[in-house]
Symmetry: C2
Subunit: 434 residues, 2 copies
């Protein structure tokens, strides 16, 4: 890790920088694949699967039977662990559904909001050596609680054209409607346009490599919403003398192992603590199967000494980390100071792995500084909130004259007339009754 | 209006189509201006103002004095109307701030969410003949309630380099931090990168023409969030024999007057009612100052007869209108059927103008079918929701073994280790106490 001591404020802007990517780099490739799949459907999807994934799915759509039998290939202990995680994630996300709150803003004018599920959603799960089933929990569970009609999942197959049983088990457990064995740009394009086999969706969720990320950006141009812009995963840990150095080291490593471009930042007000953490880091990294990747990520990471925990909190807000760990006792006292973060882990026992898998919070979070302007995925991500209003005759009498004046000032006379006609009718009714 | 009778379901997809735009049409122009302003700041902003707006602002930033004195040029009645609207919009949006709800998902594992304001937001208000001050209320008020630190407003000046006093009055009333006399692509680029004078923001809100829309799309590529994708404004009215035809006609016209590309749809189960509404439409349109634009919009609009109100509701959900007016008695009984809409107006006295100006609901709403996957602007649009979690030693003991199993199944051994170390320490502590 890079050791930095009490950097000047002028340097902070440099210190919070993530490796930047040219957002337009893949645009031409993505546009080409999108247009081809829009025109040629499944056959184009399969063409790109063969080209990019070097694999052809045994079946584009996984059969219901295969989904239902998937538990046979998952050891019972892992099934139970996944079920515990499901229970916690369900509890936390169910608590996010608000109640309907009718507000009478003026006598006779009642306004409120109601949630409605986004009807069709797509979930993307990356391929690779490890089956990232935990992300199915994080996206499928709130989609189901929201009441989405159709929840489809795309994930690339392995070289034999198959999908890992744990992926299928988790998909079946949370109630995914359909699973397609397809990944990459072609999967996103299929979800945007729909094909003979794959359903078009209204919103796409889930992580992916730079190709998937570029395709999700492009999806927005065609009217499909996405969860949030993506970047490499990151953690920022603030530690003081009450931390447990071995725990902090383990938390830094559990971020660093994600990939060479992972971002890991340690802030502390105590030089001795930093030394202890770095020493622990060296010991622990040696034991990791992914130590080469992890070491690469650590090379770009920073261990920064600042004058106080308060200054650490300021730096963290400026950095806007995806994950923020406050590795000290009584950390609850400082949470009001937090302005920008995706998810926060308080105290020495709240490791990031807990939130990644099973505490109940969502692990799909804003990276790359997007914690400044985006929330992580929640139940809200799967619904629209529709506003309603009902005016009685008293309501329009109370508001009407003000609306007439404002509409006239904006030179929108038909807007004014819609009110004037109603006010005239009410006046007529009243006088005809008298 | 185009008269359509009982169209087959196969035709619905055609009937809900909005005029489509090529999303990439303006990309090269927008990218060029963005790069120039990124590099050259204010001088480039002013260059494009002269080029595109044929106007140079007297001052790029409006002085505090000018803002505070703006009320002198606004008649007191209009001031009062704007204040009434402000009061209602404030009441409705204040009620949207939820309470913090701590959930113990497993014994010793507590999770909750807290809202934090997006620190810097930008509001764009279009220019043109009419001062669209109502949008300042709709965006400035929730930004203020959310607690945004900096709320900046960009709007093009008139040919004399000045901004309409009602715009300045409303901006001052709601507490906008800074007003800049600049519009178009150059305004959006300035908000994305910041210049010597104009503040860089985290999220941009507000309507605009196709140039502003393209620039807001591009803003996302540079990490700035936007409120939602935009398209021409639209209303869908469902009317039965209990409607007041003159009111329905007025509501259709108040949408049509926005511009030639406005979308206006009438659905009814009653042919006679349709005839009466169209007759009223002909009478009322004649009296409008903007009757030419309004007639053009009506040419592309549709008056569709369907078999029942229930079928009308199904069509509406399929269309996903920005504004939905249920112009009949007892319309509340049907709102559970609504799945896609921006804002809904119930009964004969709830005209769209009420929501446009003063009922309290927000008028920045999803158009172009985006009501399928986006909500309108609300207090939520100005905050991030950060998740928090705190695990006690009991909490990690309860969850730890499940996390270890799942991390191992995802081949993330450092994730597992972060838990194992904590479990080992707790076990040691317990045994050393015994």
């Amino acid at each position: 890790m890079k050791i930095i001591d009490n950097p000047d404020r002028d340097l902070w802007l440099e210190l919070i920088k993530r490796p930047s990517k040219n957002p337009f780099e893949l645009e031409i490739l993505v546009k080409e694949i999108f247009e081809d799949i829009h025109k040629n459907g499944d056959s184009a999807v399969l063409k790109y699967a063969r080209k990019f994934e070097k694999a052809e799915p045994k079946a584009l759509k996984i059969s219901k039977d295969q989904l239902e039998k998937s538990h046979e290939k998952v050891v019972p202990e892992l099934q139970k662990a996944i079920q515990l995680a499901k229970s916690n994630i369900s509890k936390f996300h169910e608590a996010q559904s608000g109640t309907i709150n009718e507000i009478e803003t003026t006598e006779g004018v009642v306004c409120w909001r109601e949630s409605r599920a986004i009807e069709k959603v797509g979930i993307y799960i990356p391929g690779g050596s490890a089956p990232l089933f935990s992300t199915i929990l994080m996206l499928g569970i709130p989609a189901k609680i929201a009441g989405c009609d159709e929840i489809v999942l795309c994930t690339p197959t392995d070289e034999n054209g198959e999908i890992n049983p744990v992926i299928l088990y988790t998909a079946n457990l949370v109630g995914i409607s359909s699973v397609y064995g397809i990944g990459g740009i072609q999967a996103i394009a299929a979800l945007v346009f729909g094909t003979e086999t794959i359903a078009k969706v209204d919103k796409i969720f889930g992580p992916g490599n730079q190709y998937v990320t570029a395709a999700k950006q492009m999806a927005q141009q065609y009217g499909t919403a996405i969860d949030m812009p993506a970047g490499p995963s990151e953690v920022l840990v603030i530690a003081d003398q009450t931390c447990v150095p071995a725990f902090v080291a383990a938390d830094l490593l559990s971020q660093a192992e994600h990939g060479e471009d992972s971002q890991v930042i340690l802030l502390t007000d105590n030089e001795e603590v930093r030394t202890l953490i770095l020493k622990e880091l060296e010991i622990q990294v040696e034991a990791l199967p992914r130590k080469d990747v992890t070491r690469k990520a650590l090379e770009n990471s920073k261990a920064i000494l600042l004058s106080s925990i308060s200054e650490c909190m300021q730096f963290s807000n400026f950095y806007a980390p995806e994950h923020l760990i406050l590795a000290f006792e009584n950390s609850r006292n400082l949470i009001d100071i937090i302005t920008n973060a995706g998810s926060v882990f308080l105290g020495n026992y709240s490791c990031e792995s807990a939130g990644d898998y099973a505490s109940g919070t969502n692990h799909t979070l804003p990276t790359n500084g997007y914690a400044r302007n985006y929330s992580g995925v929640s139940l809200d991500s799967f619904v629209k909130k529709i506003t309603f209003q009902e005016l009685s005759s008293t309501g329009i009498e109370n508001l009407g004259p003000a609306i007439e004046l404002m509409a006239e000032a904006e030179q929108l006379f038909a807007h004014k007339n819609a009110v004037s006609l109603r006010l005239a009718q009410i006046k007529n009714n009243t006088s005809s009754r008298n």
